[in-house]
Amino acid sequence: MRLRILPITLICLFSWAAAYGQCDGKPPKTEEYSKQALQKTTYLSSYIQIICDNKSTIIKASNAVDLACKLFLDEDRIVQVSSSNNKAVREYKVRHYFEHLKLLGYTKVEIVWVEVGYVSQLRKGVDGNFYGVITIKQKFTGYKDDLPAYQDITEKHIEVVLKQVEVAQAGNSLRCWDVLLGDINVEETWQN
């Protein structure tokens, strides 16, 4: 049981360590944001692996759904899934998307990063937050009884939101940029 909760605990610890980046009160720097945004998408992939794996206990999968939702600005963010072979576009609110993944019934899931395609510059929104977009390519393999049952390659366009938050540190209050995920567009470019 201890071993089962270890991966989630480790992700949580790393997430906490990397939660806030720049705390100097200046506008966010592109290099800093891209590093943090890519880190958050790595956590997202790790949570998805736990959610999809039907060996995960109900509690562990539910925890992973909760933690994955916390990576986003709020639960109203939308995951839009489209396929280059099929014109139908499916849209889910983030929690609904993760709940949907839970039902896929794979015994193991592998998500491999193929490449980071593009990290946009940041643009200030009218609410004072900063917004960017990153584009990544990933390979997903779902196993049933240790055999690959489904594979796809997806291109994910992820909106990233940088929001200023108050962080207490050694009795001082710092204003840091928190990197959160926004809407996601997932395009399946190849599947088998």
């Binding site: 946009s120 643009r123 200030k124 584009t135 366009h157 939101v161 809407d183 996601i184 190849w190």
Partner: protein, 282 residues
């Protein structure tokens, strides 16, 4: 004709490792993905000659060249499988864009470019296809940016238009479309339609467009739902004398992503006519 060498090289590579349903190799995916024009931001940066070093390195490798000029980059931004323009026209356009005395650049925060979003909407229980036209607005006070709806193409959605002006002016706006909404295919529009009481916050405040006025009322009254976003295109008028349309061209080759898919010379009344017909903008 020799000036189109780069374009022909790309066409050659279009025919290169086209795969049907065999799993593409990781190297092929990486090379193709790096060269892809990922978003309209990426398009604008490349148009202005600002190309990521990884893309340049990939081009050097693919085309065995030591340097890539802005002219080469501009050719690479055309959908090379489209036959809607002549080579001479493309050549004239590019030469104007790279003119030493007066080069043309694109400005994300500038006027004269629009997103046209084709949507499936449900109005009073019936489904319709319609286009919403948006532009980037800069708030003069904060310098912050947002996408705002500036127009709508009719497509027979409303049998009659509301005459009573919608009370747009609000002290505390609660809703806005982030300046990077386009990066996730304007999913934010879906959320905006669901927030019926604040939907009008996403509209151009100065607009007195009767269709937008009706749209604001009907969403407010809960009569209209955004079902799906079908497609997006960007119309640029920032190169004097020209109109071009950027569309997503998803395919597994080296001429892919957001590319110029239509190009027209247009000035004066022709330009005004184009804006009115294509975007319902005066």
């Amino acid at each position: 004709m020799a000036k189109l060498n780069f374009a022909y090289a790309i066409i050659f590579y279009l025919l290169f490792p086209a795969f049907l349903n065999a799993q593409p190799s990781d190297d092929w995916i990486k090379e193709n993905f790096v060269v892809e024009v990922h978003t309209v931001d990426d398009f604008i940066e490349r148009f202005n000659g600002d190309v990521d070093q990884r893309v340049r390195d990939q081009w050097f490798k693919l085309f065995d060249k030591k340097d890539i000029s802005r002219k080469d980059i501009l050719y690479s931004l055309f959908n090379l499988r489209s036959a809607d323009w002549s080579e001479a026209q493309v050549e004239t356009f590019i030469n104007q864009a790279i003119d030493r005395e007066c080069p043309a650049f694109l400005d994300f925060e500038g006027d004269e470019w629009y997103a046209k979003v084709n949507c499936k909407v449900q109005f009073q229980g019936k489904n319709y296809l319609t286009d919403l036209v948006l532009k980037v607005r800069k708030d003069p006070a904060s310098g912050g940016l947002e996408w705002v709806i500036v127009s709508m193409l009719h497509s027979g959605v409303f049998a009659e238009l509301c005459q009573e002006p919608f009370p747009y002016a609000k002290a505390n706006r609660k809703l806005f479309l982030s300046p990077m909404s386009h990066g996730a295919n304007f999913s934010s529009l879906k959320r905006a339609f669901e927030d019926e009481k604040n939907f009008s916050d996403c509209m151009e405040l100065k607009s007195r467009n009767p269709l937008l006025n009706t749209l604001a009322w009907e969403v407010y009254l809960g009569n209209m739902t955004l079902m799906r976003i079908n497609s997006i295109e960007f119309h640029f008028f920032q190169v004097p004398g020209w109109v071009f349309v950027v569309k997503q061209v998803p395919r597994e080759d080296f001429n892919t992503g957001w590319l110029i898919s239509e190009l027209y010379p247009a000035v004066g009344p022709e330009l005004a006519k184009y804006k009115l017909i294509s975007l319902n903008i005066k």
